[in-house]
């Protein structure tokens, strides 16, 4: 009897000692939910958020960004130096290996560049790398990247280009069995279910505190929420603002997306500058941010350019909310009761339909009639991209991953841009000039001019800069990043 008691108490003691050890072991594993499954694990092929979420932890780039968005050295030892207007020289960190054993060196960089810009490879990421002509090896740890024209954004581009091994990247297996230089490597990929990453023991940088990262694919936001509340998940993305109170922990960070309505300067309804001004003054942006997004959005400051991006014009004032002046302007322009067609879509971006309808309501209060055209996404894109027949007003959300004003300029400011609706000769000249201006201050000056001009003539109705909202389990500690990358090496768990 006595010996049994002893045995039991010993077992209990052992269990008590073992328990903290076990929770510590569990703490080294986290689960992240992403909305869609990666289509491939080749980091250079697709432009796919599901792929990026995983590969951001496996692969690295020559330059990186701090969580706040500042460009810092990554696989390169320092920021690049310019040899001439077309040539940028990168010094590489020594003694770095890919997880398949290949060395990271100039050959790997040359290969990574050549591979992604190869027309036969048809990378969907080419919109980021269109200006790159080639990369040349100088010595084992020095590489020069050559552009087709002067390209001041090249450093930002190299923050987006993932470095792949020189030889193994030609192997068909590369698409499903990645080999990077990053803090994690692939453990298993069960199609349709999950991707599991484990710590790369030979990582050159600081060892991450989390050993195993599990990515699960859950498209339905209610299901993601439930997983977080049940303790199965540690990180969920795109948490709906109204659920922030219900999850154990949440965090928000200024995001890369900004909503805007592009007004056509050529159409009858919106040709008059007074009308375009009225359409801007009629909107209470702060109220939209508070009511639709529970405050997880910031009113834009008179421009579409992302506040974190190079080229953001700090001198511009936000368009004030002045419904009386808006009404007066509409009357003065003789636009009272005239119809403005507002083209948009529903379901692609957070609360897009609600936002479009709320803006339309403000416009109607100012005195115009609004013809809402909420289209199926394909049809919506047809109208958004239609260069011949611009809608009076078209809603879109611009995303600026490279955090450089050239994106907004090429998309919505420059005449004949992807979705722009003005014919301003100055913008037509300035935007391409800024794109090749390598003098940083001069370039900033051009963007200041351009944003000012568009602001003064009301070409756009910039709406809200969205925040990315994340839900965390109680044990997870992480500062979300401006660039929305889910970097597990920056995450920690407390138990």
């Amino acid at each position: 009897m006595n010996s049994i008691t002893k045995l039991l108490s010993r077992a209990a003691l052992a269990a008590m000692v073992a328990l903290p050890a076990m929770t510590a072991a569990q703490a080294a594993e986290i689960t992240i939910a992403v909305g869609s499954e990666a289509s491939t694990l080749d980091p250079q092929k697709r432009d796919d958020g599901g792929e990026r979420a995983i590969n951001d932890n496996i692969y690295e780039t020559l330059l990186a960004r701090t969580p706040a968005g500042e460009l810092v050295p990554g696989l390169a030892e320092a920021l690049p130096t310019q040899v001439d207007p077309l040539t940028w020289e990168f010094k590489l960190r020594p003694n770095i290996k890919f997880t398949n054993g290949e060395a990271f060196n100039a050959d790997a960089v040359v290969k990574s560049v050549a591979r992604i810009i190869d027309p036969n490879f048809a990378s969907e990421q080419m919109s980021y790398f269109g200006t790159i002509a080639k990369a040349e090896k100088v010595d084992d740890l020095t590489v020069r990247v050559v552009t087709t024209g002067p390209d001041p954004i090249l450093p930002s581009r190299m923050y987006w280009m993932k470095m792949v091994p020189a030889t193994y990247s030609d192997d068909p297996a590369f698409q499903t069995e990645p080999a990077g230089t990053g803090p994690y490597k692939l453990s298993t990929w069960t199609r349709g279910q999950e991707v599991v990453l484990e710590k790369n023991p030979d990582y050159w940088g600081d060892a991450p505190s989390i050993d195993t990262v599990r990515f699960r694919f859950i498209g339905e936001s209610g299901t993601r929420m439930a997983g977080l509340m049940a303790g199965e998940l540690d990180v969920i993305t795109n948490l709906l603002p109204e659920f922030v109170e219900s999850v154990p922990k949440s965090a928000a960070v200024q995001g890369v997306e900004t909503s805007v309505i592009i007004l056509s300067t050529e159409n009858e309804a919106t040709k008059d500058e007074r009308v375009r001004k009225a359409l801007n003054l009629a909107i209470d942006r702060q109220a939209l941010a508070d009511s639709l997004y529970s405050g997880f959005a910031l009113p834009t400051k008179g421009q579409l350019v992302n506040p974190r991006a190079f080229g953001f014009n700090t001198a511009l004032q936000p368009y004030p909310y002045d419904p009386e002046q808006a009404k007066a302007l509409i009357k003065e322009a003789g636009a009272e009761g005239k119809t403005v067609t507002l083209v948009g879509e529903a379901g692609r971006w957070l609360k897009d339909r609600e936002l479009i309808e709320a803006v339309g309501n403000y416009w109607e209060e100012a005195g115009v009639k609004v013809d809402y055209r909420i289209e199926e996404f394909g049809e919506y894109l047809n109208q958004l991209f239609d260069r011949k027949k611009r809608p009076d007003a078209v809603f879109v959300v611009n995303s600026n991953e490279l955090l450089d004003a050239d994106r907004e300029m090429s998309f919505a400011y420059m005449p004949n841009g992807t979705a722009s609706s003005n014919n301003d000769p100055d913008l037509a000249a300035w935007v391409p000039a800024a794109r090749v201006e390598t003098d940083v201050e001069k370039r900033k000056g051009i963007y200041a001019q351009a944003t000012q001009k568009a602001h003064d003539h009301y070409y756009l109705v910039p709406l809200l800069n969205m925040q990315d909202v994340y839900g965390f389990s109680a044990r997870l500690e992480w500062q979300p990043r401006v660039d929305a990358k889910l970097l597990a090496k920056e995450m920690k768990v407390t138990e």
Partner: protein
């Protein structure tokens, strides 16, 4: 019987062909995959390259001829989203969906038969009222809401089952129940009314008069005769699950099956994958119908297969 099956297979072939052709045209009318799948900032050249890669820049008639040619070899081309043969994607997902339907429909049948028969013994009685109430409740449950409710109760509050995903047998329970409950309600109501009808037939009185016990009459005769409409509805439930309900259930539970894949194919405007899914589902429907006809014959030899 053999001739019958052959004839039905031929008819089924025509149906599948017809459905697939409709899908071919319909998917090309709505949405341009090059626009939907590439980022908004993609250049015109990129879009052109994308269309060229998938042959979408060719005349519709030419695409159509190729499509028919490939159809013969079950080649539906490469999924634009997953970038591997569409049939490979389906091969990985279809078994998960079939397992889910088997679990869900099996559960529905196991619930519906005894409950329906129990309710029918004394129409208007206590057991009947309870089951009819539950049946109506089950019929009026929106599946999407039911799934989330079950997750909130069993996974979030009591933490006894996983919220979503695919894995061990515990992952089956909530999605299978979500799929089963509305189907069980429909099936149960049908069993109830058919058994009531049968119990009012003359042959039941005769059987009772010659001394058969009630359970023998109920299970041996009435329920067996009620099986024909039951099988029809069960088959219909299978088809509806394959072509519709699993889309909802798999989305809620992040179940890696055909339904969820169909949702994603639509979201990404992945024409090739969507075509392949519709083709697979159409084949499934045709096969289920043939199997049903054969089962009728086995249950009731009086039925003539024409």
């Amino acid at each position: 019987m053999g001739l019958f099956i052959l004839r039905r297979l031929f008819q089924g072939f025509l149906v599948v062909l017809g459905v697939t052709l409709v899908v071919f045209v319909a998917t090309r009318m709505v949405g341009d995959p090059a626009q939907v799948m590439l980022p908004l900032s993609a250049t015109a050249e990129q879009r052109a390259a994308f269309e060229h890669k998938f042959g979408l820049d060719r005349p519709m008639a030419e695409q159509f001829v190729d499509f028919i040619g490939d159809l013969a070899t079950f080649d539906f081309g490469e999924s634009m989203w997953q970038r591997r043969p569409a049939m490979d994607v389906i091969a990985g997902r279809l078994p998960n969906t079939l397992k889910l339907i088997a679990a869900g429909l099996g559960l529905a049948i196991v619930l519906a038969l005894p409950l329906g028969a129990l309710a029918a013994i004394r129409p208007g009685g206590f057991a009947d009222r309870i089951t009819v109430f539950l049946g109506l409740f089950g019929l009026s449950l929106p599946q999407f809401w039911l799934g989330l409710l079950l997750i909130m109760v069993f996974a979030v509050t009591f933490k006894v089952l996983p919220t979503s995903g695919y894995g061990g047998w515990t992952h089956f329970i909530l999605p299978a129940v979500t799929l089963a409950l509305p189907a069980a309600a429909r099936l149960m109501m049908l069993v109830r009314s058919s058994v009531i009808d049968e119990l009012n037939q003359q042959y039941v009185r005769t059987a009772r008069a010659k001394g058969l016990r009630f359970p023998q009459v109920l299970f041996g005769h009435a329920l067996r005769n009620a099986l024909v409409p039951f099988i029809t509805l069960a088959g219909w439930e299978f088809i509806s699950a394959l072509a519709g309900y699993t889309v909802v259930v798999e989305t809620v539970f992040a179940w890696p099956g055909l339904g969820l894949t169909a949702m994603q194919a639509i979201k990404f405007s992945d024409l090739f994958l969507l075509q392949a899914i519709v083709f697979t589902v159409a084949i499934g429907i045709v096969l289920v119908n043939i199997v049903l006809d054969v089962i009728y014959k086995l249950i009731d030899p009086r039925i003539k297969l024409a």
